[in-house]
Symmetry: C2
Subunit: 617 residues, 2 copies
Amino acid sequence: MYAYKSLDFKSVKVKDPVFSSRVALALGPMLKAVTKKTEETGRIDAFDLKWKEEEPFKPHVFWDSDVAKVLEGMAYILALAPDPELEKLYESWVDRVVSAQQPDGYLNTYFTTVEPGKRFSQLNWAHELYCAGHLIEAAVAGFEALGKRKFLDAMCRYADLLESTFGMEKGKRRGWPGHEELELALIRLYKVTGERRYLCLASYFVEDRGSAPNVFTEEGTTINLSAIQAEVPFRKQMDLHGHTVRAVYFCAGAADVARETGDEELLAVCRRMLDNIIDKRSYITGGIGSTPVGEAITADWDLPESTAYAESCAAIGLAFFCSRMVNCTLEPRYAEMLERVLYNNCMSGVGNSGDTFFYANPIQMLNEKNNSPVLNSGQKGVRQEWYDCSCCPTNYIRFLPRIGSFFWSADEKSAVLHIPAACEIDTPQFGAVVSGTYPAGGKVTITMTKASACDLSLRIPLWAQKFSLKAKGEEFECQQGYVKLSGPWKEGDKIELDLEIKAHLVFPHGNIASSAGRAAIMRGPLVYALESCDNPQGVHNCRIRADASFAETALPGDLGTLLPAVVCDAEFRSSEPGEPLYSSKMPLWNKGNLFAIPYYLWQNRGASDMRIFIPFY
Amino acid sequence: MYAYKSLDFKSVKVKDPVFSSRVALALGPMLKAVTKKTEETGRIDAFDLKWKEEEPFKPHVFWDSDVAKVLEGMAYILALAPDPELEKLYESWVDRVVSAQQPDGYLNTYFTTVEPGKRFSQLNWAHELYCAGHLIEAAVAGFEALGKRKFLDAMCRYADLLESTFGMEKGKRRGWPGHEELELALIRLYKVTGERRYLCLASYFVEDRGSAPNVFTEEGTTINLSAIQAEVPFRKQMDLHGHTVRAVYFCAGAADVARETGDEELLAVCRRMLDNIIDKRSYITGGIGSTPVGEAITADWDLPESTAYAESCAAIGLAFFCSRMVNCTLEPRYAEMLERVLYNNCMSGVGNSGDTFFYANPIQMLNEKNNSPVLNSGQKGVRQEWYDCSCCPTNYIRFLPRIGSFFWSADEKSAVLHIPAACEIDTPQFGAVVSGTYPAGGKVTITMTKASACDLSLRIPLWAQKFSLKAKGEEFECQQGYVKLSGPWKEGDKIELDLEIKAHLVFPHGNIASSAGRAAIMRGPLVYALESCDNPQGVHNCRIRADASFAETALPGDLGTLLPAVVCDAEFRSSEPGEPLYSSKMPLWNKGNLFAIPYYLWQNRGASDMRIFIPFY
């Protein structure tokens, strides 16, 4: 197993046309909006432990996690852009959070004020250990990014309490997080403190979950055990299903445990899960979760277009999982999935104003749905400022500032480039500037900014049908996948990668019932979509030739990026007023053009119809 | 407004190839199975009012309705096929039900044993008035079908209590059924008793619902008011949405009120609702309800194939609504919808063994879903014997015995034939035998069995592209829609209707995002479907020509009806093992045949893949 580490986000300055603008949003309007909402909704006040029955702003079981995620994001943002005002706010929030800690280390607002005395009794649904995980991650982030210890020390005491409570050893009780996340948080805490007990507790959660007698059943859970990955032990799980965010967070934690313990068998189980997602259970955008019912991954090939849930948090979780797996395996398919989910589902979750978010990310939108009074927001086609369950907005604030860390990994002797987006990196062993407009264009130049003995591996994407690679001016013959260029390097050495990026149709597997007879437009890693504001003839009533060819043109100016739009010939069904819902009359087709934009940019110009998969003939 | 009445089910002997076998199932295995389940699950015992906290078989808010519906069905079945054993059981159930009635007439097991003292305080969700409605319908059925008064008298006392409780008059309180159904029950009770107060109460429920101040809001409902048709008064409602069964039951009740009060304006609102369903919100099977989330009708054109809910009860409710509207309007489109839902969604809800039921009726099935541990039964592709919420099985037992009453209507001077299925009818004014194999074949002969002065109107379906009509041996020129043949008739007079019935493609409206680029096979009123057991090359990976032609062949013998199967040329995507989920490679197509069966007969040979809408080119 490889032991590459993703570069620290502080070592990667993001400069590309897609991600850099999103990072800027995170540092600006998003931080402001999310901070405001977190305060307004009572989530911060909850830590004062003053709530009483009948009062408004009753703490909810998952509120602590939202505060923790915003704190985590603030730490990264402060590291990228120091700001005394923000730091003061950050410190005051940390003080209030830590003030809620009980003498024995316990910290949970819900079970301190709303249901005191019920601590650790309703693990299956109460998000108690999930909140603990996010608090721990936030504390680790504060220490790693800013060197601040107060929160970290407090959370070590909480982790110590958890560690002395849960496990198989004498004097401990069995118990698992109802919503996984604590596993990966404990690994982070282990890595920053060196305290092996935290690794052991994470390992315990990964290994014991789903074993008989079932902890959740004994608690009297009414939740389907399969929906929370607790019907069999992870090592016996054959596919990935159930609540999507839980599922991928758990896999990311398991991959961490496999890596830290060198457990190849456990890593193979993680591979099985990720292979299942890649081969049979993911949308073309990298989205996972096929239904709002239980927010779940369901079954092989079950990828309905109309109800794609593809939650933003699931996409972020999948990026975490893929990145860990890439670092352990250097498997090109996993990197491809990482790139797919980053550029499409992860980016679509945030609007261009930076303060609106999709919870679910539709891949097909019928605008009428926006006006339907009976659909819940998870199925709506308009980004919202906040949600009652607002996990997604608070996830972006901690995800986007670190996005550069997905591009590069390294170990002592080598650097690995996964995503050739423009950036500057600088580590003690290695320094380079990646230039180009990727993925607007496919020409990428890597210029060494310091002498280095490291080898450099870089990824030729599997989607790249034509490509060339030059190192220090010389052609380098290679295959798709990771290509290793041996060091040493001098300052100023150049590597030139040229990937052909042009729009083409992508055909979903014939077993996907919902997409039968349809194809999508992709251009490099970006999925394209038809939006009704660009296609006045409609987006649901058209078809294209299977061998359609595409021209490129400028995006509408208000979308503000140098990525191109894509245009192609198409046919549109003619329709007459009063046409019946189902008719024996064969459709008539009119010639016309389709205009497609990068999927992630849709719904930035009002509510609209949208589709990715177009009937072909 | 017309005042046709559907013929009493006892006047119509059903003899056709589709419905007659389902009626036989209802009288045999279905009655047995449903009776057993109703007893086993504690639903009957609940009426003994002996349940105490902590005991098993805790009465549920909707249990009374299940018992009522089985009692209603038993009454019809006893009328069709007297059986002393069954009658004894029926009497004993009635005794137990009536024994639970309180001195003031109130009858509800849940609010007598589980939450005593909370009567009428949680109308929004508690199904209290819904249960009252079904009890009243059952009592009316017992009187109408069997002449039994005990249950009816008891339910009149309950209705009197309701009538003196709810309304706008001094001394009454406002209140509406959380789940509508009581409205139409009260009309039935009014018609059988002549007691106008019951009509007034029904009218009050129809008119006041949704008015400000909102009764449900004042109760502190957490339910979306739109989901229960309570956000605006019915007359201001512009489309039909929300919980599907509630919505259509309410419309049926409103249509009854419109008719009994001669209110053309109210009828126009009912028309608007039914037009909205027919024009924009129904599946090709007549199914309504596009999502399991809230079991709801959602928005115009929102008819996803993968999550079609199309609940059996909604189909039955839509048949009720359509039938009432046909009787008031003789609108051919409404009769067409009635026929569509009867032959497709209504019939698919019951398996060929008679003791298994779909709750939701999928229009596309990916077999893998059946193995998914995380999907709820409402989305599963296998009929079940019973459901925790078992409204559908208990609806069939009261629906199927009466199915003949949908075929014919009459008033003093005329008879109207809506569905030309083989049957014998006999009323004081009119008698006829309808012979033929409709809808296996389109030749229908109506032979008068008595002299009659009545006019006869009969429907030429809008789907019939070729047809001819002869009366007493002479060609009769006519259009599609209702055709009036004037009486008088002698015994032996014949009318010969010849409808061309052949398989052809039907194209969904271009605005239906989910079915873009696809078409369905229909043959007469029957929708056809591809089932994987007949199509070893798969059902989700094929395409057909837009001008495909069809041959007919015998159905597999185990499906046991003389309806034909349909075969056509098609192309199947070739696939290689290990093909990626999304590929740039253009699909290759192999020639082959598709084999389609009537949709309603699917899933009678085990779990299978199924689809109705096939990509065309």
